[in-house]
Subunit: 344 residues, 2 copies
Amino acid sequence: MPDPCVDVLVASYLEQDLVERIARSDPRVRVAYAPELLPCPRWPSDHVGVPRELTADEHDRWTSMLHTADVMFDFDWRHPDRTLEQSPNLKWIQATSAGAGQLVEKFGLSSAPLTVTTAAGVHADPLAEFALAGILHFARGLPRLVADRHTRTWRKQETTELAGRHALIVGAGKIGSRTAELLRCFAVTSTGVARTPRPACAPFDATTTTDRIAEHLPTADILVISCALTDATRGLIGPRELDALPRGALVVNLGRGPIIDEDALAEALSTGRVGGAVLDVTTTEPLREDSPLWTADNVLLSPHSAANVPSENGKIVDLFVENLGRYLSGESALINEFDFDAGY
Amino acid sequence: MPDPCVDVLVASYLEQDLVERIARSDPRVRVAYAPELLPCPRWPSDHVGVPRELTADEHDRWTSMLHTADVMFDFDWRHPDRTLEQSPNLKWIQATSAGAGQLVEKFGLSSAPLTVTTAAGVHADPLAEFALAGILHFARGLPRLVADRHTRTWRKQETTELAGRHALIVGAGKIGSRTAELLRCFAVTSTGVARTPRPACAPFDATTTTDRIAEHLPTADILVISCALTDATRGLIGPRELDALPRGALVVNLGRGPIIDEDALAEALSTGRVGGAVLDVTTTEPLREDSPLWTADNVLLSPHSAANVPSENGKIVDLFVENLGRYLSGESALINEFDFDAGY
């Protein structure tokens, strides 16, 4: 008689109550979780953390846990590239990030008989909040207010406003849609850019496809990048595209650094061609030491952690528990299944 | 036969097309506008401006314009306290600010047989945008991001988020309502505080009255002041009220400085009791030179100009033209009539 149970290995730090929520979600679920064998999180939802040296005994325990796993919550932190040999029973990995393309490729899992689901959607709220924080920061002249306080200067002046502007949002997925939704509250219209044609519908006022963005750049007061990094989006925004934006436009990158030509962006920021950049991602991370972005006062730079908020783990576990139910019933497709062909 | 015309004196700077919009609004309207006799605006919607020295001839011209006026767009910039003697025909002043209480009192107009209408509502959008800019600035850790860029530090960490918080909004007028509406987009609930009881309705999740705010302070992650300065609101938020807020709460003042005890606020900011303050107004303006707020890094200080955006004059003129139509027809009450008893 086959074992009716499913062995779930929680392979990154989770708060204890969340581990219990997974364990209690179905009687067939058997959870393995040993935080002492995992990298030490710098904050609760840190899924990278500070690596540990494992003793020989700890190494054996971790190896054994990997060996038994049918399902993993997050990738193995030590040898993700050896996942298939280490975990012969493994059928599904639930990733904790929205963009898993680079990981899957790096770990050589793209041809594996394995399901990978992403955490797409979980980060939409905090990333869209960050986008708005950054857009408002520049649109409402906050850098000058901060500078004036430092010099004890009381200087009234006019600033631009958000209402009435237009945004071009490259990537009409959950992050882009939530950003458009928030912008719409501020009376900012938006055009959503998807890979394939789709009808215009809320929260976007219009939609277009990636190959036609050139037509839309001249009216983009705000350019938001919220798409995955694929062969089609690498270097999508170069000098020509930046030059086509209205003078003083704002550029927001919530996707991946290499989608924007970073040298061209730095140049456009230095001349004021681009008025401000709100970046959660850069081409190399950490940002390379000699990057001119470090000293550009019209850059708001976040070290790829704008999605790190207290509610993150709870939302990923909500998604995982829903997926686990579907996995056990075998009746419906998992949410956020990674598409190895599309790369996201 | 009485003169069917109404003499409208535009007494602060307006763009030429807006002056024409007033002039063309009704054949009975006769507009007097001489920008060369007005203070020089520092930005288009600057209704204070840099005063001019008038020559004897210019003085006479201005005196004559004041003498003829039936209606004024904005107060006389030179001797508003002599309005009644200077302008014997004057029946109505359209103010360009939302809060006219201090002006009316200062100019001794409170017992005048005069209608004053305010520009309440015009500034709701830009002020609410500014409130959100400031709230997001602190909630999403932007001061640290800016500091880290300056020191070339790439330091991932978690920040708080807006979603799921609760705001107490003192002043349920247009500015407070628009702020609540924007906060609601970010999944922030709110309680609106009005002078007199009113049913809870959108954009507020609940309502209460000014005399009961003490009960609501302990759940106010964000306290927004968007009410008028009156005897009932002067010093409304003192040390006790600040101490009742959750630790690290954010305080926003879009109303008037004296509504908050500024020394108590500075003290609460220095201990972290209050996590951040977003101030468009201060007790004395400019902020007094020895104020500890100048050096408080958890203060975002705006020199009472958060409402100054390019669309401002257009919106005030929209309101004025609507009011002018009502004035001429005599059929309906003017919008935003100042209530001399209530003080707003």
